[in-house]
Amino acid sequence: MNAPITASAMALDGGVLAPSDVAPEAAFVPSRGFWGHVGHRLVRDPVAMGAGALILLIVVIAILAPWITPMDPYKGSMLRRLKHVGDATYWLGSDELGRDMISRLMLGARLSLFIGVTPVLIAFVIGSAIGILAGYVGGWLNTILMRTIDVFFAFPSVLLAIALSGALGAGIFNSIVSLTCVFVPQIARVAESVTTGIRKRDYIDAAKLSGASPLTIMRVQVLGNVVGPIFVYATSLISVSMILASGLSFLGLGVRPPEPEWGLMLNTLRTAIYANPVVAALPGVCIFVVSIAFNLFSDGLRAAMEIRQ
């Protein structure tokens, strides 16, 4: 849920491991190191910073939601159904069961972010492991792993996600499992290609000659250099994951009522598009805003990392 998305976290995360292959600067000016440069460039990118701030704000709202919602998100009233936006009591109106929209949207951020971000995090770990292993070991292991992954690439991601969660049945856990299965092959493929790219580099040979064990090389030389690009790729998947996760709930395959989740809210409000179209569209606005924020942040991160070229 709280992905390490801030620039400082990334610098801490990678600064120690990454060997500094940035060109040395003028004498007596200490180099910031690769992650230092990335962080520096990211901070000066107003779009990425704005998107990052927005994500942070929504995450904070999601965490604090149970304590800060103006009304009880579960308590409905059939007499106060579908109030319009701007109502004195219901600021963003009320839903088809008379529950306060703004409270449900705030609490809904929890589940929506959770089911959207978790699959990418899990897939980041599993996919990186598979990809790095395949890329570093090479040979037949690479062939077996990558050809298996090709099979999953034969399914468009939406189809695979729906097929898996359709077969497994509705529920939050199953929806996370299906989305993880969708993203593991994608991340593994990127991890494999990045790892294969650095396997033949001189510094790996140098490490081998200096007597480093394969495990040490994998941890320091390989991991330090591939985690960054894989992480950036993974952040670009969060937006898709949010849309798909809420989409599964929209279809009735994810979160179940009465829990507030944006996709599910959008689905139950479909009956209200004639009576109160603005309220009916609100949960989708939330999905859209979060998704666009993650996309912009990820774009900024990628641009900030293009120093090496």
């Binding site: 050809r147 468009p156 598009i273």
Partner: protein
């Protein structure tokens, strides 16, 4: 050379196709309970259950079931829908035609606008048009299309009353026909679906065009006095293979990913069929439609690869 390349691709695709069939087959066995529990009445006797199991072949070991299933599939038999009792192949084919119409129209819209925006942005980098095109492509890949569909229904059907909100035609039938009445039903879902390919194609074409324009040969063409239109033709010829390949892949993604949009618009395609299969727990139908869609995607990928190689002499046919 080309023939050898195609053969090589076929050799490569065959194991993938088998893998896909295995995944589709296993899907049914991922499901909690067994495939028949959803259709049998709760008070069915053991005798009835056994009878049904034998009829559907569920009493044999898994590998045997897979081989039998595969054998039938290779002969064009995708099994029988548990819910309707009709052959799965017929149900899927009808739905695939409807989905293909929707996905093709959406792809054409996406390709047209995507290349248009991409070219304008690539030619005028960092201009207002470029920023607009970039914003559009971020919009295209970030918008939840099922929500966009709802918004379009709210605006054009519920509020303005210009276009029908759901269905494929005025008669309520499941068959789309190319006439004006049916066309009106196609507009909203097609526009909704076209947003993603528009964004992706615009982004790709922009990068392609900017990249090509920065190359030395363009400068050489201009230096020898070629007019802008002549240069433009060169840019198009260089960008076409990649742009067309992206378009082909997008068609596949739309076909497989249309379930959400089809559900919003009650469009009688594969997405709608899948939705029904999932909620009626009609596992043979689920299995069959996913297999058909995935195979379609595999074949499309192959065609795109071959076409791209044929169009672009720079790609090595290794």
């Amino acid at each position: 050379m080309m023939l050898i390349y195609i053969l090589k691709r076929l050799v490569y695709v065959t194991p993938v196709a088998f893998g896909v069939s295995l995944v589709c087959f296993m899907l049914v066995h991922l499901a909690p309970g067994d495939a028949l529990s959803a259709v049998l009445p709760a008070d069915a006797t053991q005798e009835t259950i056994n009878e049904m199991k034998a009829a559907y072949g569920f009493d044999k070991p898994l590998p045997v079931q897979y081989l039998i299933w595969l054998w039938h599939v290779l002969h064009g038999d995708l099994g029988t829908s548990i819910a309707t009792g009709r052959p799965v192949l017929g149900e899927v084919s009808r739905a695939v035609v409807n989905s293909l119409i929707l996905a093709s129209v959406a792809t054409v819209i996406g390709f047209t606008f995507g290349t248009l925006f991409g070219f304008v942005a690539g030619y005028h980098r960092n201009s207002v048009a470029d920023r607009a095109a970039s914003a559009l492509s971020v919009f295209g890949v970030s918008v939840p299309h099922y929500w966009l569909g709802m918004v379009l229904v709210i605006v054009f059907s519920a509020t303005l009353g210009w276009l029908p909100p759901t269905g494929a035609g005025p008669d309520g039938s499941g068959n789309w026909r190319p006439d004006f009445d049916h066309l009106r039903y196609l507009i909203l879902p097609a526009v909704t679906m076209s947003v993603i390919p528009t964004g992706i194609i615009a982004r790709t074409v922009r990068a392609l065009v900017a990249d090509i324009l920065a190359q030395d040969f363009v400068e050489a063409l201009r230096a020898k006095g070629m007019d802008e239109f002549g240069v433009f033709k060169h840019v198009v010829r260089n960008a076409a293979p990649t742009a067309l390949a992206i378009m082909g892949l997008q068609l596949g993604y739309l076909l497989g990913g249309s379930i959400l949009v089809e559900t919003v618009f009650a469009w009688p395609g594969t997405g709608f069929l899948l939705n029904a299969a999932i909620f009626q727990r009609d596992l043979p139908l689920l299995q069959g439609s996913i297999l058909v869609l995935a195979m379609f995607f595999v074949v499309l990928n192959l065609l795109v690869d071959v076409m791209q190689t044929a169009l672009d002499p720079r790609i090595e046919r290794a």
